[in-house]
Symmetry: C3
Subunit: 241 residues, 3 copies
């Protein structure tokens, strides 16, 4: 059995993983879901990418976790790649779930299509604290289109504004790309958070992992809410030896 | 509950939707399936694209339908895009089911791969009334490969020759592309009516919709015959709020 | 009912098809699974591509099989394309299952991404008999990622070194490309043996078949071991009239 550390994406916090953690525990694994610095309700949002990475590393080191299968969703692909540079000796495998795998020297924003870059810049500029609030129509149609209208609205209430600075910070990542840690990519086939095709998740991001294990499931960017049991089962398939 | 107006593709008429209409009604929706001008058995075929659009608009206006989820299959993507220009106030959402989303100023033919364009031109020239009859081997392998041999033959008998002029007419579509109507794309993952890849339906056509909702299901171009109940369920998912 | 001849891929021999043969027989078909020259445990490996083709042709002619649905997996796409040039009168349909469809004049190696070409050349050079032994980590993550760890290890024991010369031989294939035999492509959607995208199986290989029938199923390159019953059912769908 493995120790899973599940790192949430933008607008989310660790509580989004609750049903996934339950299922992984039911399968006999240990599972932890930290909340990254600057994320979650009611905390300060003046953080950069290193703060996010540091909070994940501290979570792991404080609990002395080892033999970890480290899972990152969406934005958190950039975080787990950096964690793998900092504490590789504690990790057994990396699982990128519809997650960014930035090219060396790139920021998350560099990896987004131009119209996203513009939208994010405009939303951040319109905030008073350099954060991005996801518009509901984008959430409903491009993030969680497989939910009922009721679930789409209820889960939108769980989101919080995303700090913009971690999107902008460029990441060296040379040590990540030299790492021989086993890597998996879990792809939800209807994920629209990046537009399918030229700018899509798979195979654009996945192929950067070199030899990697691909696991796919049906669903949107937010199966964490719409199909968490299946998500947990596929994470276990992506994470096993 | 919504009012669905289902617009058939080439070689088909409204009767092809029968099982889909039944299922949508069972789910509590209203559902209508008009036959476009120049389509169906035993009618004149000297129509252009505007005639097709006009017949769909008239169907809707005559019945005073409003709050419509307007669904177009294949060729009918070009029709519903034009209907959305004519009577947007009656529409709630557009659903493109493996449907053409032509670029402004393009014809359907412009959006087809070169070997299709040639085949269509040759078939139309070989007819005595500027229509295209779909060859059975193409129907069987590229349109309805998920059917039994018996269903493939029986459904082929339901087809009728397709007027060629609506394929050729160029469509302005500037008002369509300025429209803020919510849009969905329903993609059957084994659809070969356009060849997968560079000339395929998804993401080539779907991505032109801007922010859109993607729904996928397994199946060929003709799940209207091979899996109508699942098709209706996915149309309902694509069409809901 | 049809007569299936199932041609294995690299590192495999005919015994890998056992469960698929059983299921096809249960469905009422005849099914044969020859072992290609230079393949299987304990045989000489000094063969070229023509030897492989000749062994498949001899198998068919010796048994006087006709009305064959000829299925080729992976490497064997190159074999069945050549068999279709030699004895077309005995064939009813070709089924390429995540198989190579080389361009005229190409070798299998020409169709592989550059880093594969290098790896294969290095592995062949490192052998004492010009063969390639598949490294276990590649088998586990890129070929059979949908297996349990136990199945991944047990099936690895069934593999044998692959003769390199058939990868290198260039194939004319002009008669294959002029053939009007019906053709199907069966695509496993998580197959990583060729990297998804630019160098992937589908639609890159499939689209070279011209008008073809596409059938897809979930799974890795090795559903022959992880889901043979479903594989047999999909082969029957790909192979029927």
């Amino acid at each position: 059995m493995a120790t899973y550390v599940l790192v949430h994406g933008s607008w989310h916090d660790g509580s989004a993983w609750r049903a996934v953690v339950s299922r992984l525990e039911q399968l006999g694994h240990a599972a932890h879901a930290p909340t990254l610095a600057g994320h979650g309700k009611g905390v300060g949002r003046a953080v950069d990418h290193n703060d996010c990475v540091r909070s994940a590393v501290d979570f792991i080191v404080d609990r002395d976790l080892t033999e970890i299968v480290l899972v990152g969703h969406s934005f958190a692909g950039t975080v787990i790649a950096r964690v793998a540079e900092e504490i590789p000796e504690r990790l057994r495998r990396l699982v990128f779930w519809n997650a960014f795998v930035p090219e060396p020297g790139s920021s998350l924003l560099d990896e987004c299509p131009p119209h996203y870059r513009e939208m994010f810049h405009e939303l951040a500029a319109a905030s008073d604290d350099n954060t991005i609030t996801l518009p509901f129509p984008v959430w409903r149609d491009a993030f969680i289109q497989d939910a009922t209208p009721e679930t789409a609205r209820a889960t939108y209430q769980q989101l919080s504004p995303e700090p913009f600075q971690p999107f902008v910070d460029r990441l060296d990542l040379r040590r990540f790309y030299e790492s021989t840690l086993p890597k998996s990519y879990l792809n939800c086939t209807e994920d629209l958070a990046l537009p399918p095709g030229e700018w899509g998740w798979h195979p654009r991001m996945s192929s950067r992992l070199g030899t990697y294990r691909l696991v796919e499931m049906v669903g949107s960017h937010e199966v964490i809410f719409t199909d968490p049991r299946r998500l947990a089962d596929e994470i276990a398939t992506a994470g096993r030896d």
